[in-house]
Subunit: 466 residues, 2 copies
């Protein structure tokens, strides 16, 4: 790879950035909400859009049916270099509360930002449509300038990442031979800060659970039954309250089994990172860390397991007042896991914890929304080094090796089912409001990300030759 | 009043029962849900329907505007006897969960019951359209047979009973002179059992509260912020859990101030009543009393104050899963009060209890849904005795003097604002599913209730002469 060739590709990407933004807006306009079956046809449309987009780049691509939303698989493996499998997801989170959006979530707008940047605003602008197109557009620039890609690239896009990825495990097993590559590249992560790129090497796992408490066989009137009849909302609130300890920990018995204290070297590295603990909270209107006392926020969100309540509903929740004793109440809860925790053991411990708190004349049912272990990636590998160097060259500073509190269960699946390690390189920012109203992706993320992946592809090609 | 005259009125009512049922069905068809402003016009329609109905019986009646839903007032005071003010409400509870109704809540159906009775099924069939028309139809029979009523009767129907009766206090003050009578007759209560009529002499008060917790200034992603950011649903669940004690009591400081132990004589009377504690709960699918240990169910629901959670919502509650840390959560709570408790002190104590549990960087707002004290009526009065005797004559057994766990705040208003005592006589049954799907009124309640009120009107006329 010559410097001038690389420079030509970078120049091409810069010159055609507007077209890249237009393609991203086209993809955002497809409301591919995976958790709501009303949007199933839109998920298919998004898959077809992506398949067509990479066919344009010379990929042998197709939409593959599953029990749920379809997969997109494409291969462009003419080059000599190593073989990278790129993974992203085209599905997005629901948009509610819709009333807090300042613009239609599925009609993206470009909004000038106070810092001179431009925000691309819409559901999925960052997570994950913007991030995955960042890589696709890098490939497009290579193809446009040199007629081919510098290394072998396969792509896999799924449509159920926000819905528990139920079809993914079986699909990976069926297509294990086809998808096998030297390394997986996943783009679902953040930059360290506006100037510092990052490669994520630690990911928390996730156990997602929903439960419903049933007490009486109908809703009751509190005038007739108040005091005497068990209240399903009270039982549910009691259970939720019992999950956390006074000092911010998790009270489920056995939950911390296998959890180690953070490696002192990593802890020291994190303490050196430019991270403003107060600003992290004050940016969202808070001041007091809610997790375990005596642990830094980075440790709380990257290296400590957590328990959060995501949704709860029961009784009369409309305008006005209704003195009903609700017969049923539902709650959605998740646990973020760290290395050493067994997700199935955590799920079992949670369910036992709940069952022990359901009165004898009431009942509980559970629904699983996934169970995946935490991942800690090997820090030393030539490909990681090459990627770090490429990112450093683009951004003018060394890439941080970070953790992330979020879960990317597929990383575990790639390791277990395909024996592949994953490089996690993303250009999202902390304030992108993913999963929230007014989600956005910075134009500088998109532009710098495309340029970064152009360099990463070159570096991986060169690393092979070295 | 001669026996034969009374018998003629009773016979007329029996012979025209089908027409009475048809009128009740007409009234149920008007969806006068007071807590939802979408039904405001229907509330007006229900008021006009009632005003027209009693004009037919010779009442000087009109619909009176208020800040909320209108009142209906009517007078028929040509007779010599004492003056009764009859109170009822034409508004009804919301119908959700609508999917549990076996028929349209506002298209009443007559359904044969296993015991040979017939159920009139629809929202408001019992509470309070059925109950108030029971009295109106008794007046109709008197008017049809004798051309007049045996005593002076005024009627007052409101449309906000299920919504906190906000307009009622001011209205009673404005119309105090006009509404003054010898006694109030209120029909919002139950029979003791299928064969035993009841007059209710103890009513619990009610403090209704709604609160909203706000933590972060937006919903957050638990992968990024889990552990570190306060979760509004967790805070709300912790507060709800903190309201009750382990042994079924209420944990708000000062809540039991002024509460006396039940009078031993009344306790003994209640123990003699044919009340099946196990059946009371097993009828609704439960087996274990949830209130204070060591107290009977009747004591729990009639003579002990309570705290119930009626509604709670926060976070993502639709299909699927969303790992959001909710910024806001809401809950509706009520306290049932007994004699000796000050509703304002209870409200203040509750709010202090909540505020003490809101983290410093979060906030809470409150909305009041009413605050009314408990009522204990004087057991000895000639009118009570006359009413008891009339009920006994109709049903062939002595009327029970009962308590009720429900609140009828107007009884306190009549006492405070008009200086009037209230006779609470109703023909609803425990299993009428008021406030719940498939609310019904037994045809035997309607028929026996009309006959009972015919006798009560005669007895009050005779009592005056005695």
């Amino acid at each position: 790879m010559t410097e001038s060739q690389l420079q030509a590709v970078l120049d091409y990407a810069d010159a055609h950035l507007d077209e890249s933004v237009e393609r991203l807006c086209d993809l955002i306009r497809i409301p591919s909400v995976s958790t709501d079956s009303a949007y199933a046809a839109d998920c298919v449309r998004a898959a077809e859009w992506l398949s067509d987009a990479i066919k344009d780049l010379g990929f042998d691509a197709s939409v593959r049916k599953t029990e749920g939303h379809p997969m997109v698989v494409g291969h462009n493996v003419a080059a000599d270099g190593p073989h990278v499998l790129f993974y992203g997801h085209y599905d997005v989170q629901p948009v509610d509360p819709i009333e807090l959006w300042e613009s239609d979530p599925f009609e993206p707008v470009l909004r000038p930002a106070p810092d001179g940047d431009t925000h691309i605003v819409g559901r999925g602008a960052s997570d994950d449509k913007g991030q995955l197109l960042t890589f696709v557009e890098a490939c497009r620039a290579w193809k446009a300038v040199t007629g081919s890609l510098p290394i072998k690239v396969s792509m896999l896009f799924e449509g159920e990442e926000e819905a528990g990825s139920k079809s993914l495990g079986p699909f990976l097993e069926e297509t294990a031979e086809e998808l096998k590559a030297d390394v997986v590249l996943v783009c679902d992560t953040d930059m360290w800060d506006r100037e510092t790129p990052a490669i994520t090497t630690m990911l928390r796992g996730l156990v997602g659970e929903e439960f419903e408490i049933t007490c009486a066989d109908r809703d009751l009137h509190s005038g007739m039954f108040g005091n005497a009849a068990r209240n399903a909302l009270q039982v549910t609130a009691d259970i939720i309250a019992s999950l956390r300890t006074e000092d911010g920990g998790v009270a489920v018995e056995g939950f911390y089994d296998g959890v180690s204290e953070l490696d002192p070297e990593i802890k020291a590295q994190w303490e050196r990172l430019p991270f403003d603990q107060e600003a992290f909270l004050s940016d969202v209107g808070l001041t007091i860390p809610a997790g375990e006392k005596g642990r830094s926020i980075l440790e709380q969100v990257w290296a400590r397991p957590s328990c959060e309540i995501h949704g709860m509903i029961g009784g009369y929740t409309q305008e006005g007042f209704k003195t009903v004793i609700p017969a049923k109440a539902r709650a959605k809860v998740s646990f973020r896991l760290v290395a050493g925790q067994d997700p199935i053991a955590v799920r079992d411990a949670f369910r036992a914890h709940v069952r022990a708190r359901v009165p004898q004349d009431c009942s509980v049912t559970f629904e699983s929304h996934g169970a995946s272990p935490a991942i800690a990636l090997p820090l030393e590998s030539p490909m990681l080094t090459a990627t770090r160097d490429a990112l450093g060259a683009e951004w003018g500073r060394e890439a941080a090796l970070a953790g992330t509190g979020g879960s990317i269960p597929i990383v575990g699946d790639f390791k277990r089912k395909l024996g592949m390690d994953t490089l996690l390189v993303g250009f999202a920012r902390f304030d992108n409001r993913i999963h929230s109203p007014n989600e956005k992706y910075d134009l500088s993320s998109f532009k710098g990300g495309i340029r970064s992946f152009i360099r990463v592809l070159a570096a991986l090609a060169d690393q092979q030759k070295a």
